[in-house]
Amino acid sequence: MDNLKEINYGQAIYEGCYQEMENNDSVFVYGLGVDDQKGHYGTSKDLHKIFGEKRNFDMPLSEDAMTGVGIGAALAGLRPIYVHQRMDFLLLCMNQLVNMAAKLRYMSSGEHSVPFVVRAAIGRSWGQGAQHSQAFHSYFMHVPGIKVVAPTTPHDAKGCLIASIRDNNPVVFVEHRMLYSNTGYVPNNLYEVEFGKGRVLIEGTDITLVGASYTVTDCIRAAEALKKIGISAEVIDPVSLSPIDYDLIRKSANKTKKVLVVDNGWLTCGFSSEIIADLGINCSNLKLDRMGYLESPCPTTRVLEDGFYPDPEGVAIKANIMCNGEKNWKPEKISREEINSFKGPF
């Protein structure tokens, strides 16, 4: 265990970034506020002091052009990492990401490559409201030529970031605000987490729960509650959303015959549609269902916000219904300390 230490998700991102910057001069980090005192939840803190301002710098509020700047720098052989405080801001970059980054290799028949990492924090908690709460991983899953990862553990955060930096394609790296404080054991060395491989976090036989980013933790907590009433839930963390490990999910589905997909986003044409569609096509006799954001923008006031997002109780209740048809059971209140303790003010 000498080679491991316990750190949190934010620290793991920092470490992966730091080590890869040390390893490769072509890697640089930019984004609004990356070089300020907070350093994007600590993930880029003081990197400019260590590697120089050239390699960790702030920028004008110009998300669209700055995406193109990253792509252009990548064409020139650098490995830029563009950090976004909110994934909602990626809507300003869609043209560059989808029409340019995802296409340049193909249009040049392989002459160009775009080794470009776009880190985007997903919001929730503390009254973020309609414009600071969205997750658009499905938008990038939809488009060939771009990869998407959404690690949930510190181990995967570090390994996925390193793999993203080394990848020769544009990668959208999704990080949920409520995960930054998640702790776990992380190897000290440089390592890559392979894209396209998911993980079975909890093995089970009665039902498969599949999350995406933060909702994986909802699934884990739901599985614990379900265990108490004798339901054995298997929890899958896809880690990489594009490419996605369909095989792993299918295998689990064929075993449990019941799959509940819990997305950290809206349902329609989303991650949950994709997983369920794949199972509907490739497996048979499954009971399938899904949960995610309610079908509205995210409301600001806490009572409504709490109802808007999926939660572990809701996941457990739905899973129990799928397993037993039992509609009246409710688990004890499941506390989510990372949400309760988060007080903004941002």
């Binding site: 300020d36 005192q37 920028m59 669209d64 973020q128 414009q131 409301p299 600001t300 006031t301 409504l304």
Partner: protein, 314 residues
């Protein structure tokens, strides 16, 4: 030109200042569970501009919108209830601090995505012209907002169509902790606007009256069909970018910069122009109103979760 009303200016200024201070006071109780972007230090702009407006003028603002709303004599109870996330809030708690809007005082909309409501303001001005309506659109924004390309697209369209809109740039020199000089080579917002066909002037008097005068003159030009205008108003944010705190510990600006601004507080200047009695009367009235608003908000209920999926479609 209608005369600058010192009493009214003081009233509005004090109302904004005290409201923001109340938010600071209360924030620790976690009754306001959402980000707040305070206008303390920047009130003079909202007050000066608002005093120059007609009732039918229309305001677009951003997440730092409390001052703009209150200077427009928006409903204090509803604003507070909105901060509390209650059903008597102007948007039943769905908006919160960052998305205030209130049709009854032509306070249209505020976006938390920087620059995003600016083309809307231009579109509204387009509609005013289309419908031959009288009101001028006021579009408040920060110095950071001009970094975004859509800002220039908006100005370009506004000047091309000679639209009745006044852009009010609150230049507090920072976007969060990033100084303007880290975002543009030269201090050239007004120059850029002029090149885009929007007549711009820089107002660095820092007093409410200066902003009033500048706004009044611009509005007059616009009324006479002389197209969109911009006033770039120099100012200083006293508190942290977001939340109730201060930000000296972050050391992104010198203490002097802040201290000078605080020393120049126009609230004190306005106060000094009124009698003690006048001041006391206004202060008492405002303090009362704020206390009432807080009581009102405390009493109001939270919305039922069934409301989550309401008002998505019209």
């Amino acid at each position: 030109m209608k005369e600058f009303d010192i009493k009214k200016a003081y009233h509005l200024f004090y109302l904004i200042r005290r409201s923001e201070e109340k938010i600071i006071e209360l924030y620790d109780t976690d009754k306001i569970k959402s980000p707040v972007h305070l206008s303390i230090g920047q009130e003079a702009i909202a007050v000066g501009v608002s005093l120059a407006l007609d009732d039918n003028d229309i305001v677009f603002s951003n997440y730092r919108g409390h001052a703009h709303y209150l200077a427009r004599e928006g409903n204090l109870n509803q604003m507070w209830a909105e901060l509390y996330g209650k059903i008597d809030g102007s948007s039943r708690g769905k908006a919160g601090s960052m998305h205030l809007s209130d049709w009854s005082v032509n306070f249209m909309t505020t976006s938390a995505i920087v620059t995003s409501a600016i083309p809307e303001a231009v579109g509204y001005a387009f509609a005013q012209k289309y419908k031959n309506d009288k009101g001028i659109v006021i579009c408040y924004h920060g110095d950071g907002a001009v970094d975004e390309g859509v800002y220039w697209e908006s100005l370009n369209f506004a000047s091309l169509h000679n639209l009745p809109i006044l852009f009010v740039c609150e230049n507090n020199k920072y976007a969060i902790y990033t100084h303007q000089s880290k975002r543009m080579l030269n201090d050239s917002i007004s120059e850029r606007a002029n090149a885009f066909g929007v007549k711009a002037s820089k107002v660095d008097g820092l007093t409410t009256k200066d902003f009033y005068n500048a706004a009044y003159k611009s509005l007059d030009e616009i009324k006479n069909g002389n197209g969109p205008m911009l006033i770039e108003c120099l100012t200083t944010r006293w508190r942290d970018h977001v939340g109730p705190g201060e930000d000296r510990h972050i050391k992104f600006r010198s203490d002097d910069e802040l201290d000078n601004a605080i020393k120049n507080d126009d609230l004190l200047r306005l106060e000094s122009m009124l009698s003690e009695k006048e001041v006391k009367k206004i202060n008492d009235e405002v303090d009362n109103k704020i206390n009432e608003a807080i009581k009102y908000s405390e009493k109001s209920s939270f919305p039922d979760t069934s409301e989550i999926t309401e008002e998505v479609y019209g």
